[in-house]
């Protein structure tokens, strides 16, 4: 009962932030104008602003936030480590590498889903590598070290590809791919990301029972009817789908998958399956809030989303490392 109340509250928060996100922008529309334009299509310019600029932006914030929150909660549940986060351990960075390769080799232009699928491949490679390096028995240190290595490699290769591109704007986009932004995205990007995300959400949502059982460790879970092989495969595929699709259209946004599960874990009684649902909503709320904030702080500049999420997330990350160390994990 309390859990459903929490979900209802988080849902209401997401809805409220979604509405605010639709109302914030340099065009200076009143809420009444905005609504009339969005729903009834009143005014050519207003309708273009609402339907083609603000709506996709708000939708992407929800989709990407939900994805990152869910992916973070799922990875932490599997690795039984609160430090596992797609951005920090290089999964987002590798997805960005895949996306950049697709954009600058022409793969993205050659077929519709080329961009998100390439990002998915990058993310899948990184998750796979991390699970091999820091999977069963690997502690926090292994996880963080593996994450540093994967992130550094993905970041360097992304920079390399962008520097080699003949496009004069490519090199200046390194920051976008590393920090992420939702500025001036369109419905094209929503449709590009949505199919893979839906698949990923479904895969990750099915993990709840297995992740709960893993609370007792791999052996205990395996003898409680959980197939660890299947669990691992679904996790890799699910995380790759949601992080790949999100990064392909908005760059790598870090710390969402760290901050949100951390805040919500005590509220849901730490149960991994409940944390999946709560973090999905919480992630959507966090990215919406961050994207509203970047528009309020520097309205006419494209302040990167990852800057804000890192300012909130990095101190928390340090705190978690400190606590992990103190507990001798």
């Amino acid at each position: 009962m309390r859990f459903s109340l929490l979900l209802a509250l988080l849902g209401a928060l997401v809805a409220a932030l979604f509405a605010v996100s639709l109302l914030v922008g340099p065009a200076g529309l009143t809420p009444a104008q905005s609504l009339a334009a969005l729903i009834r299509g009143e005014g050519l310019a207003e309708t273009l602003v609402m339907r083609e600029i603000r709506l996709p932006r708000a939708l992407l914030a929800v989709m990407i936030g939900a994805s990152l929150g869910l992916a973070g909660a799922a990875m932490q549940g599997y690795l039984r480590n609160p430090l596992a986060e797609p951005g920090l351990i290089g999964v987002s960075g590798s997805a960005a590498l895949g996306a950049v390769l697709a954009l600058h080799t022409g793969l993205a232009a050659s077929f519709m889903l080329g961009l998100p699928l390439a990002a998915l491949a990058g993310a899948a490679a990184a998750v796979g590598l991390i699970l091999v390096l820091a999977g069963p028995g690997g502690g926090s240190i292994t996880l963080i070290l593996a994450g540093i290595a994967v992130s550094a490699m993905a970041g360097a290769l992304t920079s390399l590809v962008l520097n080699l591109s003949p496009n004069p704007f490519a090199a200046s986009e390194i920051i976008f791919w590393m920090m992420g932004s939702l500025a001036d995205r369109s419905m094209v990007h929503v449709w590009l990301a949505l199919p893979l995300m839906v698949v990923g959400w479904a895969l990750l949502a099915s993990l709840g029972r297995g992740l709960d059982a893993l609370t007792l460790g791999e052996d205990a879970a395996a003898t409680m009817g959980i197939s660890l092989v299947r669990l691992r495969l679904v996790l890799v595929a699910g995380v790759a789908c949601v992080v790949g699709a999100g990064t392909a259209v908005a760059g790598a946004i870090g710390f969402v998958g760290l901050v949100v599960p951390h805040i919500l874990r005590p509220v849901v009684g730490a149960q991994p399956s409940k944390l999946l649902a709560a973090s999905t909503l919480g992630g959507a709320a966090m990215v919406l809030a961050a994207d509203i904030a970047v528009r309020l702080i520097l309205p006419e500049r494209d302040l990167k989303l990852g800057v804000l999420t890192a300012i909130v997330g990095a101190p928390l990350f340090l705190h978690l490392i400190y606590r992990t160390r103190r507990e001798g994990l």
Partner: protein
């Protein structure tokens, strides 16, 4: 009560690299038995149990490993030596995990599930701990919670790897008495133990592993002979029947 064995191993071997760490073990465990698995460090006790459960590759036959995942989860509850509780979930939530094999995915707990959980909580004296975070309890309390989880699984067979390690004497005795009661109630228990005194007092049958082979199998008084103790454990011991039951006390190391 004795009918088809709940666990049977036939010519069971486990290899690690080129050499066998477990060789040609055959045995059967039936309802009503409380079986202690003893042997020195590195004898292969954990390997035997994990491989029998199908958690690691093995040659030969194991009735448990042959079952599908769900059927196995309804046949045997397993308590690994590592008492792992990764998250600060409530005691009740943790114990409820034992009901996983009985509950279809996406379904709420049935009355039967709740009854099993409540019974396990009462049995382990955890009534006052229901809402406490399980990983913040003391070692002994955590052990009781994990046993309650295994009990809630309501399987005919319970397997535990050194469940008494790290427990105080009262907790050790309570645990062994619980296993004996389970067996007397028609379940079967297989537990590895280092404390031969506990094994002698509470088990109906002992299995002795030595260098990967099963070297003795029988009631404690038949197994714990001075020759076997010297050969396998390199100790001498005092073992006698007293009015309060069997008493076993290691005395010294034989060099």
């Amino acid at each position: 009560m004795t009918n088809a064995p709940l666990l049977s191993l036939r010519d069971f071997s486990v290899a690690r690299g080129p050499c066998d760490v477990l060789r040609d073990v055959s045995l059967g465990i039936s309802a009503g038995e409380c079986v202690g698995l003893i042997g020195p460090n590195g004898a292969g006790k954990t390997t035997l149990m994990r491989a029998a459960l199908g958690l690691m590759p093995a040659r030969g036959q194991s009735s448990l490993a042959a079952l599908d995942r769900l059927a196995r989860a309804r046949t045997v509850a397993w308590m690994p030596q590592q008492r792992e509780i990764a998250w600060p979930v409530s005691v009740e939530t943790l114990i409820a995990l034992g009901r996983n094999p009985h509950r279809a995915p996406g379904h709420a707990q049935s009355a039967e599930d709740r009854a099993a959980i409540n019974a396990a909580i009462t049995r382990m004296g955890l009534e006052g701990f229901r809402t406490r975070a399980a990983n913040q309890l003391s070692g002994g309390e955590q052990a009781r919670v994990l046993i309650a989880r295994a009990l809630a699984q309501e399987t005919p067979l319970l397997m535990a790897d050194e469940p008494t390690a790290g427990l105080d004497p009262a907790n050790q005795i309570t645990l062994m008495e619980l296993f004996a009661t389970q067996a007397a109630d028609g379940h079967a228990v297989l537990t590895s133990l280092h404390d031969l005194g506990l094994a002698a007092r509470h088990c109906t049958r002992l299995l002795v592993l030595h260098r990967g082979r099963l070297v003795a199998d029988g009631p404690p008084e038949a197994v714990l002979t001075p020759d076997l103790l010297a050969e396998v454990f390199q100790i001498s011991a005092h073992f006698a029947q007293s009015p309060q039951g069997p008493v076993f006390q290691p005395l010294g190391v034989i060099r």
